[in-house]
Structures are given as structure tokens and as C-alpha cells.
Symmetry: D2
Amino acid sequence: MIIVLKPKASKTEADEILSKIEAKGLKPLYMPGSERTVIGALGDERLLGELHLESHPSVERVDPILAPYKAVSREMHPEDSIVKVGSLEIGGSGFAVIAGPCAVESYEQMSTTAKAVAAAGAHGLRGGAFKPRTSPYSFQGLGLEGLKILKQVREETGLPVITEVVEVADVEAVEEYADAFQVGARNMQNFRLLTALGQAKKPVFLKRGMAATIKDVLMSAEYIAAEGNNKIILCERGIRTFETGTRNTLDLSAVCQFKQLSHLPVMIDPSHGTGVRDYVAPMAYAAAAAGADGILVEVHVDPKEALSDGAQSLYPEQFAELMKQMKPFAEAAGRKL
Amino acid sequence: MIIVLKPKASKTEADEILSKIEAKGLKPLYMPGSERTVIGALGDERLLGELHLESHPSVERVDPILAPYKAVSREMHPEDSIVKVGSLEIGGSGFAVIAGPCAVESYEQMSTTAKAVAAAGAHGLRGGAFKPRTSPYSFQGLGLEGLKILKQVREETGLPVITEVVEVADVEAVEEYADAFQVGARNMQNFRLLTALGQAKKPVFLKRGMAATIKDVLMSAEYIAAEGNNKIILCERGIRTFETGTRNTLDLSAVCQFKQLSHLPVMIDPSHGTGVRDYVAPMAYAAAAAGADGILVEVHVDPKEALSDGAQSLYPEQFAELMKQMKPFAEAAGRKL
Amino acid sequence: MIIVLKPKASKTEADEILSKIEAKGLKPLYMPGSERTVIGALGDERLLGELHLESHPSVERVDPILAPYKAVSREMHPEDSIVKVGSLEIGGSGFAVIAGPCAVESYEQMSTTAKAVAAAGAHGLRGGAFKPRTSPYSFQGLGLEGLKILKQVREETGLPVITEVVEVADVEAVEEYADAFQVGARNMQNFRLLTALGQAKKPVFLKRGMAATIKDVLMSAEYIAAEGNNKIILCERGIRTFETGTRNTLDLSAVCQFKQLSHLPVMIDPSHGTGVRDYVAPMAYAAAAAGADGILVEVHVDPKEALSDGAQSLYPEQFAELMKQMKPFAEAAGRKL
Amino acid sequence: MIIVLKPKASKTEADEILSKIEAKGLKPLYMPGSERTVIGALGDERLLGELHLESHPSVERVDPILAPYKAVSREMHPEDSIVKVGSLEIGGSGFAVIAGPCAVESYEQMSTTAKAVAAAGAHGLRGGAFKPRTSPYSFQGLGLEGLKILKQVREETGLPVITEVVEVADVEAVEEYADAFQVGARNMQNFRLLTALGQAKKPVFLKRGMAATIKDVLMSAEYIAAEGNNKIILCERGIRTFETGTRNTLDLSAVCQFKQLSHLPVMIDPSHGTGVRDYVAPMAYAAAAAGADGILVEVHVDPKEALSDGAQSLYPEQFAELMKQMKPFAEAAGRKL
């Protein structure tokens, strides 16, 4: 850890900080300069967090050298992790495609969509029973009834099922009916929910928040891992920027960053990432080329009648075409589709 | 509502949409142009949400004319609302100052800080018992024990107490011990929590999310109001931008925007809004000048030893100076301090 | 054009606006609603710009229906444009790779790098003679001397040369020595420079500004085209967001957006787009998969000694590997490399 | 300067960097850690820029300790600078108000507006003769004719005149007719223009670019100062964020940041900063409260007919009211209006 003192900090103040560092068992380094005094601390700098040196009135800034996350870091676990969702492996030699509607609307809608995406080659099924919606007057999801539909459709198609959980009280029910939890962008820093999922057994798709840095996402993943659940899949789904031509700005460099910093698998959601039906397929191919482990795609039997996110949902025949076109891109990236 | 069709949309497709609008009881308007056909819908356009016209393959875009929120809108309630937190009125002729530490750390810390801010003229006390922290390894708050300390200190000082609630399961306990709920930036779109608070009796400080537009904040307020709780105070606390010289970018124009669109009182948090101790006072004066109804400020008896947010916490004597300097600014804005 | 009036706008004010629209030769439409009056204007709404209706005190907002650019729009020119840079076609069936150092530093550096990228299969050479640098104390480029080096290296390798122009006064010299102009992100809205380039004969690479929307870029391209130069190549190079793990956030959806709205070719700069050497290749593959017409890549014979942008420059052998790996991605996207 | 090496960097690589630092005449410091090796360099780290250590393949990152600007820094010049624009002092005990239309449209428009703002108490006059406009089809300004009008109106009213310069070739003419140059947001990193202004004699209002950090602005100011012109006024005018309710997000904390890091005077432009007429006055008061040295405000005799920026221009009577209301805010901030 590097501590830069303010221009007018005295030697006494520097000594106070040096002795605090020493008291924590780290080796302090004193580096007086012509304009600023800099102090270094060698050793496990996580211990220094308890000193709150950034609050000290003589400290200009504190630059940590090490990442604040451990369990999810590449350094602690140099090999890529593979996470199993039902029978589907994510993070290995395959490229995982999980498709389905934004929301579970009815048994018929889910069943028809699931059969269509399965026929086109999807490996997993998505669909929300609990929907976080910006407006209190929008459709909020079918709840438990939706979970039951998902389970029934999984039995019919054999596709493992991923569904969102928005509240600690629902964790148990979702775990009973689905194969994996999804934490949506709006709940990425709902730390109670993350802690509860860390105590669950099933894998967690953790979506990046709209204003979350790569490091923020890894810190949220660390919440889950710290409780003992290492089955985490990171998911980029677009961040909020000034550009209004797309719903969000899909940050595909997130794949590179997550892969460098962490051992966890990384998926891309080109549907929320763009919000525009025509951009979903090109961004899905780009995700594969960038080295992602798979994609989450919204597909609806009849997007015109979808109760949510219809504008970004693919028609089943568009999804079938995407799967066909995806093959050479996935293979060029060294993946089997 | 204005519906712009894609360049190649046919007359048949336009007719399909026109008849859907009519079926909802609105008056449709057909406006064919040289390059685009535009369709208007006159009447309560909220009914049109059910048609999901943005999902229609011939629709380029849908521009609503009316705001999607009602209960919190200025149009529904032209006069400014006044919300009472304990005996403190927010939104009237006074300028409310609520001060205290980021987190409740101990009875001594709260009690000393509370007495200091009361002596300097603060009207309310803040302090977190449940702390949402980016890292799982940081201090997470004292929980119920913290709530009890807050209650005790309120009894000693007479200051009404505001504290954060992060989870539906805690709503009851917080309501028992505190005078108002705070919803933090990270939970601004935790819709289950908002719904639960809409069913509570005590007022809610709703903080703007880091990536939330003004309209997003009003939609979240609408969640609370739709359940029957109109005691809502909006709070700007900085948004996330590319600037790294401050922790967040404090958007003081939010005061103007909220006041124009809504009748709810608006407060500013210059502590989180900047993250820098030296910037808190100037931004507090600017908040008063911009027309805010008050401020939330972090003050700690010993910021150097604070368990969280020490770098942005004022020393008690800095807070006393702020209160003194604030007076003419509040008065210039037509407020009593 | 749709004009939404303020809630309290009177019939007289609406009539005033309606008659102004009529006076411009457009067909006005009056749509009184329960909460707002809306006015439509059918016809060439570009004429309405002269009315400045957004400035009218009774107008809440003005929503244009048509895009404000014409010459560069897909509607005016439905087929993809192909732009020739020397003998290199950009925008056709090939995938164009233009490589080279950030800055021209010496004849030796340019010549060695050019031969290396040519041997690896690059189609064009990049290198800056005029460098816009954030600090006045950084290397500012060799100027005219750099242009001469570029010309000499072009003759040796046969690679067409692209170089940045930063000032109207330099347009003539750059046109004499290079095959194409580059307008950098910082000059994307230097309208005088754009106008001068519109009067030049050689093609222009127009880079997206750090805070420019897709529409802003197209308006800047329109400046060039309006003067008669249609040889424009749009270039996404990353936008500024809150993320600090990369130098910029590369917005690959820009390819989809530009291609939908415009007929101009689109290239991607993964070097500036990420600022991190290790992320350049994956983002280059993703660009091809997303449908881009080519890439601009920074390659330096000795990045460790580069006078600018060394951290994002590839070593020649990394570039050769990129070219090899790129082939199947370009082919999957229907392009020859 | 602190250099963090990559996890796998060898002792040999560290030694190579240590000897490079020593060769530059700085004192190197070797700090091996359990997970990373850190290298420090004590002395004038600006010399290290020439080593381009961030390009070294074994270097993870380089953290400078000192600011990269000198001439404009507070450390080099601890007292506040006062800049004179004609007879108007900016940065001293007064609060400077510079008002006028966005663009010079005609002698009548300028003369009437100038007399109105002078009568209301403005200290300077603004108005653009050269207008950078997003669309090539918008009014581009009167050019030289506009400069002549400005000079004539200055003679009539005695108000010093500030006007924008967009191109090196115009610097001489603008200097002849006006009292100060304005560099607009889009040209903030037009380094050639900055250099030319550094060689001019009259003061420069430097507006913050839409995507410029505080440090970027100071680096641009350094370009001007490095050439010998220290008469620089920094101007915050809003940055681009995701919020669409205002044209830009006015970052009033910029006042605090600029004042802390630099000795230059700071003004605020609440007109471009919000883009909404009704928000201009509250943001102007907030600017005074935050400690700004003055404001730049758009006022037009007839905003409804303004050729540009009418939606954010004040009516003369609104400006007169602003001046009246401003007085107690300026005085509370210790300024005479």
C-alpha cells in the first residue's frame, strides 16, 4: 500500500502513520520527496484497511497495490473455473447458449418458446418469475406460479433453468425449482441477497450493475464466494453511458478484464446489452470472438405480444439463424457450440 | 403517445396499430409523411403500455407524451409537500440539517457526535446500523444493537433519527426504533423493499442511485406512494461519471428537476456527493442556494478513527462552522435555518 | 416533427405555432389532450429548424421524427459505400487491417515497423506526424519531417498511409504526403477542420469523440460530405465512461448503429479502445465478428521505447499472431482477409 | 512515482527498471512484496515520463505522485490569481457576471441585449461571432462582421467583450476586436489553438470539455501558460453523463477542485450547464455559494427568435431578477456584486 501525504504534512504526522503500520505487523517504508512524502507498507495490506488511513487529515490519498478480492481472483486460482448448471458446463471447451423470454407469462408461452430454442440448439432456458420493473404499474411476474411453470418446462425439454431472485425470502423457493439463480443488474450490490446466495448450493449468474466497475462486480462475487459458494458466473449486460442509441453500452472488454483478474466463467447478455433486436446477433458473435464462455439471449414466441422487453427479444426463427451463424465464430475461438 | 413507424411499414401495419389504439378507447391519429408514417394516440396513454407497441416489428420508436409516474407528480399535486420526520418539518419554510456519522459504532461515539451536532444546531441525527459495504471484509454495521443505540441517543438529545434499511425483513425493526427510513443508492431499485416501505407508516428518504436518471428516481418514489405512503423525501447524493477527482458527481440541478416534476421535498447529501471533506461545506451552501429543502451531512467525533467514510466526515468543529456560514445562504434562499 | 406544449399553454399559443408551421409550407396537426396539447408537422421538418420552436416559452419539448443528417444517411444511399485509400478498398468484401505505431519517431522506426506489419499481412500503414498530446511537455510529433518519412516508407512497402491532421493549415501538406486523413477523437467537432477536409480530395477517417453519440459522429461526417467529399470512413475508438480498468470503453455496438443509419464503412480501433496491449487482439476479433469493415491497430518495433502509447502497442510478433488468428473470424463474417 | 510490477516480474527486470531510474538522477527504492514488487522513484518524477515505464511488459501500472501540470498549479503559486478582462477583475473580491446572447445575430440584437444587461448590472458582454454548431445546416455565426458589431457595442456600453475563437487563423482578428478569448468545450483539447492563445496577449476563458476531467482541463490550461500567457479563467459548463433531463450535468464541485489544485479564477456557465431556462437562476446562485468567481449567462432580447440556444437564454427581465436575487448569495460568499 502506498500512502501519499499532503504537502504540509509534518515529520511527526509521518511518524504516527509509520508506527501504526508497524503495529499491524507490516514493514513501513519512509520516502520523503521534495514536494510530497510517500509512505509504503509491505505485507498483507488488507490488514491496513482497519487503520482507515484515507481518513487521516494529513493523508492525500491511499493507493492499494493488491486487489481487495481474494477468493474470486485469478491469483488465488490460476486455472479457469468450470461451473455446472444442471448438466450444462460453463467455462470449459463449450460455448453455452441460454435462451428464453424475459418473463414467464404462461405455461403455453414458456413451453412453446423452450421447445423452439431447444430445437435450435440452446443449452439452457431463461425466464423470469420475479421481475424487477422500473414502474409499479408494469407486469411484475407470476412469482411462485412462474417457478412451477419453469420446472415443468425443464422436465419436458431437459433444458436446465436459470431464473432471477430478487429477495432473500425467495432464495429457498428459487433453489427448489430452478437450476441456477440470476442476480439482476439492480441487485448486484444487494449484499444481503449475495450473502444468502453464498449460503445456497446452486450456481449464481451475477449480472454487472449499470454503474458497476469491473472491480465492483468482483467484490460482489467475493460476497458470494466468501460464504462458501464458488459456483459463480459473471455476466456483462451493458453499462449506462451518455449514448442513447442503445439501451445500454455493451462493454465487451469486460470479458478480457474478468478473465485476467478472475478465474470465473464470463457470459454476455447481448439483449439487455443493446436493447435492440437487430443488434443482438452481431453482438452475440462478437461475444464469442472476444472469448466469452457463452451468451444469455432473449427469445419469445411472439415478441409483439411480450409483456416485457419485446423490443429486444428475438423471434424463434431469428434465434435459429443466430445459432447457425454462431458456429464458425465459436469454433474460431476454440469452442464447441 | 407518438408512434414512429419504420420507413418500410405498410398501410396495413399502420391500420393494425391504429385499430389497437382505438380498441383501448383512445383516439388514434394517422400522419403519413414523405419518409416516415407517424401515429398519434390521444387520451390516457398509460393504457397503451399494455399494447407493448415498442415490440412491434414495424415500429421504430414510441415517444410517450406524459410522465409514467402519477402520485408523486407535480401535476397531480401542485403544492409543495411537507413531510414530518418526528417533529422536524421538511419541505416548508425551514432548511433542515440532518447530521451524524456514517455508521453507528458504539454508544459513546453516537452520543458524543449527537450532542455535538445538536449543540451546533442540527435538526436531525443520521447513522447507519445496517451498512451496505462494497467489500465483504469491511465493517457491516451493528444491526439491531445499532438501532437500540440510535433510540437511546434520540431520547437524550431530542433529535429525530434517520437510518438505513437494506432488507424487507428489517423494515419492522427499523420502524420501531427510528423516525424515518433511508433507502440507500444501491437499493433505489430494490422494488420489494420499496413496496414494503410503501406499506409502512414512517417517512422514507429515497436516495438517488448512482446510475439513476431523475425519472428513475421518481418511478421508485412512485412504488412507495402507490402503496399508500406519501411521506417521501428525495435525496440527491451524486451520480457516477468519468470524473475521478470526486467520489461521485453531485448533480445539484437535480433540485430544479425534482421540484419542477414533483411536489416532494428534496435534500442533498454533499458528503457522499463529493467524498472529500473539504468540499462538503461549499456544496452544502450551494445546495441551499439551489433551493434544496435541506442537507444530510456526515459528522464524526473522530474521523481519523471512523470505521467507514472517514475521508468525507466533518470534524464537529467544522460542522459548527458550516452551520454558522450556512445561515445567510439559507436566508437568501428564503429559508429559516 | 412533434411539438409537446407545456400544461398551461393556451389555445392562442397553440394557434401561433400552428400558423408558423403552415407558413413554412408544412401541414400542421392539432392534437389537444387531457393533460398536454401536442402539435404535429408533416413534411420536410428540416425547414422547421429555422423556427427554433424549442425556444418558445410555451413549448415543453420538440421531438424530431427524421434524422438531421442527409448525405451520410442510409436512406439517401441504401447500398454500402466503398472507400478507396490508395489501392485499398474499405467497405467491400475484404476486411482491412491498418497497422503501425502511434507516432512517427524516426525513419528507422517507421521502416522497420512497416516492413514487419506488411510481412504479417497488413493492408495499410498508420503513424502520426502531428500528435495531439494531453501534456504540453510530451512529444508532439515530427511534423513535416514525419510526413516525409511516411511517404518514403510508403514507397518502400507499397502500403497506403493514413495520418492525422489537427489543423486547417496542415491539410494541404498532409494531402500531398499521405493517402488518407485521420481526424482524431479530440477534433471530431473541430468544424473548421471538417469543412476544410470536405473540400479536399483524399478520404477521411473520422474517429468518434470521447463524449460523442452516434448521431454526433454522423453530423460531423455530414460536415465533410456537405462540402463534397463523400470518401469518409467512420471509426469507433472507445468512449469515456466511469470504468477505469480500460483507457476507454470500446462500444462495438457502434458498428451495428452506424451500419443501420449510414452507408459509410466502419472501422474499429481496439488499441485506443482499450489502452491495454493484452485486450487488443480479442477486441479485434470481436470487431470482425460484429461486422466491422476493418481495424486500425497500433504496432511498434519496440513498445518499451515508444514515445507515445507504448502500453497499448503490439509487438510485431503479437501482430503477426493476431493476423493469423483473425482469418477464421473474418471469414465467418463473410470477409476475405 | 510508484511502479507496480506484474506478479511474475523477475529480479532482473526489476533491476533493469531500478537502473533506468537511477540513470535519470532519481533515487530508486526497491520494495519486494509477497504478491507484487513495487518500485519507488524519489525526485522530479516528470523526468521519468521520458522512460515510458508504463510500456514495459513487466510493469502492471505506474502511479504518479505529483500532478503533471506546473505553471497553473496552486503549489507553484499559492495565492489566488486575478485576471483582468478589459477593466473587469476576475478572481478578486468581486463576483463577475458576463451576460449576452449565444450568437451575434445583428447590430440591433447585440445593442439592445447589451444595454439591457448593462442596465441590470452585468460587468461584461458575451456573444459568439464564430459558432461551432453540431449541424452544418445551422447558423454558423457572422464571423468578422460579428466581431465588428461586438466592438461597436462595447464602445457604446463600456462592457468588456468575450467571444469565442475556433481556429488558429482567427486568433489575430479576435484579439483585435475583443477583450478576451473564449475556448469552447469542443476545442478544449485543440492543442494548436491553445498554443496560439498562449502566445497572444489577451486573457483566455477556457471551457471544460464535455468528457474532460478536472486534470484534463488543467493540462489544457498548462498549454496556454507554458507559452507565456497566464491570464486564464477556467470555466465549468457541464459534462456529459447519462442524465437526459438537462443538456449537460453541471459539476459545481469543479469550483472546489479547481480552487484546490490551481490558482486560476473559476467561472460557471449555468446556461450550457443545464440547457433549461428555468434552471439557470438557481444554478447561478449555487455557483456563487460554491465559491465561484463569477458566471457566464446567456441572455437574449427575444429568446423565441434566437438563432441558437434560445431554450436556455434568459429574457432580459429574468436576468434583471437574477441580478437582484444574486446579491445576498454573493455577499454570503464574501463577494461584492
